[in-house]
Amino acid sequence: MPDIFVAKDKIKKEKSKSPLNHKLKSELEAEKAATWGRKLGVLSVVAFRPPYLRFDDQDPDEEIIIFVRRHLITNLKWFLMVILFSLVPLLVFTLVDLDLVPLNFRFIGLLTWYLLIFAFGFERFLVWFFDINIVTNKRVIDVNVPNILLRDITQVPLGNIQDITAETGGFMRSILAFGDVRVQTAGSVPEVNFEAVPKPNKLAQILNDLWGEI
């Protein structure tokens, strides 16, 4: 039976329960979309409300607010190592006399060396690629991939959030404006970390706004 009389308080509560508040929808959304963009590619680090991103247990009324990965510069260390290791055969072939080693062995040895370097680089890339954080209007999802064999997925409802802290420290982080966002929770998982994400203060602001909605 339809309600004839609905209390004003109830109407207000229903409005306040809407997925996103007015501020986020108008001012912040335009700002964040301009700052981060909506496109999501292979090398995308951050996307605000990415239009094509979905995940399996996403609720029909659940909306992905932000998709974020570690900053691209965090790949610099392994990238430089790959370049350095790639130069090793060049040094060996010029400095060491390898006349005793047959040509076919040298060739296969070289191929094996580069395959191993490639495996190292590809593994590091996949770890970066799959280590993602997603913030929806209902929860925070942290996919943590320490190496190619391990995978750890943490989901925290926004209601369980206790505290949000943004940290930016260090030379590189200050220059390139990336840092960590620590989300303390009341659940079984004490903390969810968004590591080396771009513009951590703005991400913390989004989380704060969403948290304030609950």
């Binding site: 999501l40 292979v42 979905r54 296969i108 690629f129 190619i148």
Partner: protein, 80 residues
């Protein structure tokens, strides 16, 4: 084993090369597990979370990588 040892004494260079060949083939055979793991991981991420994160180029790349690894393994077995 005895024949390998006697060959090692008679012609140490050839026997050493045979040993190196076996070693390289073992390394390459173990190595084949890596591209397979990468492909499995790519599939697993899609299965578990159902994410659509534009990983198609990566999957194609992983298959090419597996094909190349198999090629190097057989090449080593043939030319060494």
């Amino acid at each position: 084993m005895n024949s390998l040892l006697s060959q090692l004494i008679q012609d140490p260079t050839t026997a050493l090369l045979v040993l190196v060949k076996i070693l390289i083939l073992i390394i390459l055979a173990i190595y084949l597990a890596f591209p397979v793991l990468a492909i499995r991981q790519l599939k697993a991420m899609e299965r578990i979370m159902g994410f659509y994160i534009f990983d198609l180029p990566l999957r194609i790349f992983a298959w090419i990588y597996l094909a190349f690894s198999v090629f190097v393994f057989f090449l080593a077995a043939i030319i060494l």
